[in-house]
């Protein structure tokens, strides 16, 4: 300071000036501090008052993890309590794909600890393609205790891999009920979208599986149950700290079917190696007793996602095991159509029972010759004989007299050509030909000549075995169409209370009882002295039936169908419809054996085995259908 003493006045003025300058700066700095603190304050007001609810929600979402508790899926049993679908608990090895960088390498390393087959790998990579990335996917199911222990010891090496105890669906009857019970499978994107659309997605949190086909699909909302919820307080590492609240899950309902597992097995065994379908119904209720489509497949393959190789085999097999023949297969009814034709003839007044025609072995319509199966014809034929001997000419004439629209409207009463409304999905409607149908389907007019072959169940006729069974049950019970159904009761697991599913009301086929009796008598005749007599010889009960043969390929005019000359898959289908006992029918059925030739030889013996078991309690054996008969003239 000493050098400035020379001019003290200037120095003091400067100092005062500087002090004022400095105090201005202090004031500016204080203003700056206040301003910045005001920004902080504004930010706190924004976060803690304006946005408080938003952040509180986020904090709660952080803190509370809602863990779904998946309910046990309902089990499915037959009428006697035989298990058809149930659950068991097992350990699975699961991978969270979003936490894995190199999947192949991870699986290679995993395979050194736990047994992983190429099939597991294929199945897993298929699951991986179909799934959302954050989902935990099973690489191995049903780990042994030893494998669980081995993995637990090596767990630190596998990020994103975990062991979970899960309930698995199992179908202990294997392929026997594949087409009825169906199966579950992992929920796919389309199903997820559907669940969201229906507002059911909350109830499916934690559920990986959903019914894909059969009863598992149609009764999904009963079988699944209600998902429980556990509210857990978790820390930032996701570890549960404590349970806040818990609502228990409600187990899915059990299904009790009207099916009889033993009868089903009897039918299955009776088919032997043949393809075909059988539906047996209790004619007094519409309850389905047996529902067979052969060949079947093992539904257990689908539960955890089928591997590509098995899928390819099932999908590309010429036997089409995935096709539910009883439900979605449509076949010409062949001669099993004749009893209904006769009934239509009576109802529309075109025939009287005793009225006879002369059968020369063919019917000539406008230059076209329609042949009877029997060369030279059946001679004089009345209604009884027309059914017992299955005379084609009689029905060529009758169809011509009735006209296609009378036939169609009469057959509609028996349910031909419309879905029965059975409680499994995927039913086909079949084809009941009429003028209107042809105009709609082909935009063509109906030719009178086309009516002729409709009369013997050929032509455009195509019905499901289920429709054939429903129709014969209606014949058996005197004209009531009960909607066929498979589930007889739904059981609440907690209360054991059983409820019966509501069914649509039965419909009535408007036919006079005396006409019906004529037809029933003729069908009894079939099994006593007609085309079914050989199959039912010595039966301890009285049954009624009608054989049929459905053409697979068209036969040229004037050419005789010779079974041995036709390739196996082009051979005719064998059909049989029947019911028993005639006094008070307890079982009515329709059976079709694909490419097995005459109904009398291939299909009727299966019906015999069923009746023997169901009515007389006899155990069934496989029916021998192989070998070509010597008699070319055999008629169905």
């Amino acid at each position: 300071m000493s050098e400035f003493i020379i001019n003290p006045g200037v120095e003091i003025r400067n100092a005062q000036f500087e002090l004022r300058q400095f105090q201005l700066r202090v004031a500016v700095a204080s203003g700056f501090v206040l301003f910045m603190f005001f920004i902080l304050f504004a930010r706190f007001v924004y976060l803690q008052l304006v946005q408080h609810e938003h952040y509180e929600t986020l904090a709660e979402a952080n803190r509370i993890s809602v863990v779904p508790i998946v309910p046990n899926r309902g089990i499915i049993v037959d009428r006697n309590g035989v298990l058809l679908a149930h659950n068991y608990s097992a350990y699975t090895l699961e991978i969270r794909p979003d936490k894995v960088a190199d999947m192949d390498q991870l699986i290679d390393t995993l395979a050194t600890v736990v047994d992983i087959t190429p099939r597991d790998r294929r199945r897993f990579s298929k699951l991986l393609e179909e799934s959302k990335s954050f989902e935990s996917l099973p690489i191995r199911n049903r780990l042994s205790d030893e494998e669980v222990a081995r993995f637990a010891a090596n767990r630190y090496r596998f990020r994103g891999v975990e062991i979970n105890a899960r309930l698995f669906r199992q179908y202990p009857q294997g392929e026997l009920f594949a087409h009825v019970v169906g199966h579950i499978g992992r929920i796919n994107q389309a199903e997820l979208d559907k669940l969201e659309e229906d507002g059911d997605d909350a109830n499916y949190r934690g559920t990986d599986y959903v019914g894909k086909v059969g009863l598992e699909q149609s009764y999904e909302r009963y079988l699944h149950g209600t998902t429980g919820v556990e509210e857990m307080e978790v820390d930032s590492g996701g570890r549960a700290v404590r349970t806040l609240s818990r609502s228990a899950p409600v187990s899915g309902a059990n299904l009790i079917l009207s099916l009889d597992a033993k009868l089903q097995e009897a039918a299955y065994r009776a088919f032997g190696d043949n393809r075909g379908a059988l539906v047996a119904i209790d004619p007094s209720t519409g309850a389905v007793l047996a529902f067979v489509s052969k060949p079947g497949f093992d539904p257990n393959l689908f539960v955890d996602g089928i591997d590509p190789q098995n899928w390819k085999e099932l999908n590309e097999s010429p036997d089409r095991p995935m096709l539910n023949r009883a439900l979605a297969g449509t076949y010409p009814p062949g001669s099993t159509f004749k009893p209904y034709m006769a009934l239509a003839g009576l109802t529309y007044g075109k025939r009287r029972p005793e009225q006879t025609i002369s059968d020369p072995g063919y019917f000539n319509f406008g230059g076209h010759v329609f042949h009877d199966d029997k060369k030279g014809g059946h001679g004089l034929v009345d209604m009884y004989k027309s059914i017992v001997a299955s005379c084609d000419t009689y029905y060529y004439m009758l169809a011509n007299d009735l006209g296609i629209d009378h036939i169609a409207s009469f057959m509609r009463m028996f349910g031909f050509g419309s879905r029965t409304g059975i409680d499994i999905p995927g039913e086909a409607a079949g084809t009941l030909p009429s003028q209107e149908w042809k105009a709609r389907r082909f935009k063509q007019k109906w030719y009178a000549g086309e009516t002729i072959s409709v009369g013997i169940g050929q032509g455009y006729n195509a019905y499901t075995p289920l429709q054939l069974a429903q129709a014969v049950a209606t014949l058996a019970n005197g004209g009531t169409l009960y909607p066929p159904h498979i589930v007889s009761q739904i059981e609440n697991v907690a209360t054991r209370a059983r409820t019966t599913p509501t069914l649509p009301p039965p419909r009535t086929a408007e036919v006079k009882p005396e006409y019906l009796r004529v037809i029933q008598q003729a069908m009894i005749g079939v099994n006593k002295e007609g085309t079914g007599a050989a199959a039912f010889a010595g039966a301890s009960y009285l049954s009624a039936g009608k054989t049929g043969t459905a053409q697979v390929i068209a036969i040229k005019q004037g050419e005789k169908y010779v079974e041995s000359r036709v390739a196996e898959r082009h051979r005719d289908h064998a059909l049989f419809i029947a019911y028993a006992p005639v006094e008070a029918p307890r079982i009515a059925l329709a059976v079709i054996v694909e490419n097995a030739g005459f109904g009398a030889r291939a299909a009727a013996p299966i019906a015999r085995q069923m009746f023997d078991y169901y009515i007389a309690g006899k155990q069934p054996t496989a029916v021998k259908i192989n070998g070509v008969p010597s008699n070319d003239d055999e008629s169905d």
Binding site: F44, Q48, H54, E56
Partner: protein, 368 residues
């Protein structure tokens, strides 16, 4: 001894203590202990460790309050030179041994030379300006800026961007109080804005990430944005009155990182709400106001500049920390002064407050 004698001894012993500053400091320390207890999930060990830190820091504060300011002018240049040498040592040593490293291992103890610079830089600049007080020209401001930039450059190199910014701020405040012309301030502000792209390109990836994260934390909710998102949630969910002491869910379920150190304000804010925040802001403002009063009344240019620099540095700590926790500044490692757990920052802060007390109390003595 008479009561008068005892009174006289007490008066002498506490002659240099500034009671307003001390009481605010004790309030903040008490708040700190309360929140550390909650943030450490009720750990007495943490709390007692901090009590030890507090006692040491108060001792340093008392010591500094009793050192007359003109002694500080003597230690300013040597302290600055020592600090720079240590930074060079860190830079050299770090390059050889640990890569980017802030600590210097002296064998017995580890020191963080950048901490020394937090006090050494304002001290040095105040000393420098005071020395040329009568003839301040633009040249002196340039030299002062250079004196500031040398240590900052080393610290940026470490890299420790947060500390570098705080030290730059402390130096800038001294420059400001020393009468840096307004035109120069405006020019520097424009130059700073213009150099932003350059700074951006010189930054490390993680530093850029922090800034990007600030702009949109949801971009990377589990990575760099996690801390910001979780601390903002903690603050917002506190609401008006807070969730109550020991009741913060974000705190006690481990969602907030660094709950007793850099992010302690999130814990406070969650448990004591807007009301608590307001009271805390008031106490911080009181400390700063007292500092500003001392600054305005300081007798010499050196003490004015030093007091102003210390006060605004304290403000910067508090502001940057709370702004970072509430998501308006990027995440930088700045503790909340007097509240966050940790001895180093506590001692540094109390050292500064002690110097403030000394400036205030020795002014009175000079006057009498």
């Amino acid at each position: 001894m008479t009561t008068r004698a005892i009174r006289e001894i007490t008066r002498r012993l506490t002659a240099h203590v500034d009671w307003p500053l001390l009481s605010m400091t004790l309030i903040l320390m008490a708040v700190g202990l309360t929140v550390i207890y909650s943030g450490s999930n009720e750990s007495y060990a943490r709390v007692s460790a901090q009590i030890v830190n507090i006692l040491v820091a108060l001792g340093v504060m008392y010591l500094c309050a009793n050192i007359p300011p003109h002694y500080l002018t003597r230690i300013a240049p040597p302290l600055y030179v020592l600090g720079v040498l240590l930074l060079v040592a860190v830079w050299r040593f770090g390059d050889i041994a640990h890569g980017a490293q802030r600590w210097l291992n002296l064998g017995v103890t580890r020191i963080q030379p950048s901490e020394i610079m937090k006090i050494a830089v304002p001290l040095m600049l105040a000393w420098y300006f005071d020395r040329y007080a009568a003839t301040l020209k633009l040249k002196h401001y340039l030299v002062a800026t250079l004196l500031l930039l040398i240590p900052v450059a080393f610290i940026v190199k470490q890299p420790d961007l947060g500390t570098a910014l705080l030290i730059s701020a402390a130096g800038a405040f001294v420059l400001f109080f020393a009468g840096l012309p307004w035109k120069a301030i405006a020019g520097l502000a424009i130059a700073a804005c213009a150099s932003l792209p350059l700074v951006w390109s010189a930054m490390h990836d993680y530093q850029r990430q922090r800034i990007l994260t600030l702009i949109d934390p949801s971009q990377d909710p589990l990575g760099a944005g996690y801390h910001t998102i979780q601390s903002t949630i903690a603050v917002g969910s506190g609401g008006l009155l807070g969730k109550g002491w020991l009741q913060g869910t974000q705190t006690h379920l481990d969602f907030i990182p660094e709950r007793t150190t850099d992010f302690i304000f999130a814990v406070f804010s969650e448990e004591f709400g807007l009301l608590g925040n307001m009271l805390l802001l008031v106490v911080f403002l009181a400390v700063i106001a007292r500092g500003m009063m001392i600054t305005a009344n300081a007798p010499t240019l050196f003490t004015r500049l030093l007091a102003g620099g210390i006060t605004l540095t304290f403000f910067t700590y508090a502001f940057v920390n709370m702004a970072m926790v509430s998501g308006i500044l990027p995440v930088v490692g700045v503790p909340l002064p007097l509240i966050s757990y940790g001895g180093t920052s506590l001692v540094t802060i109390c050292l500064g407050l002690g110097v403030l007390m000394s400036i205030q109390s020795h002014k009175k003595l000079v006057q009498t």
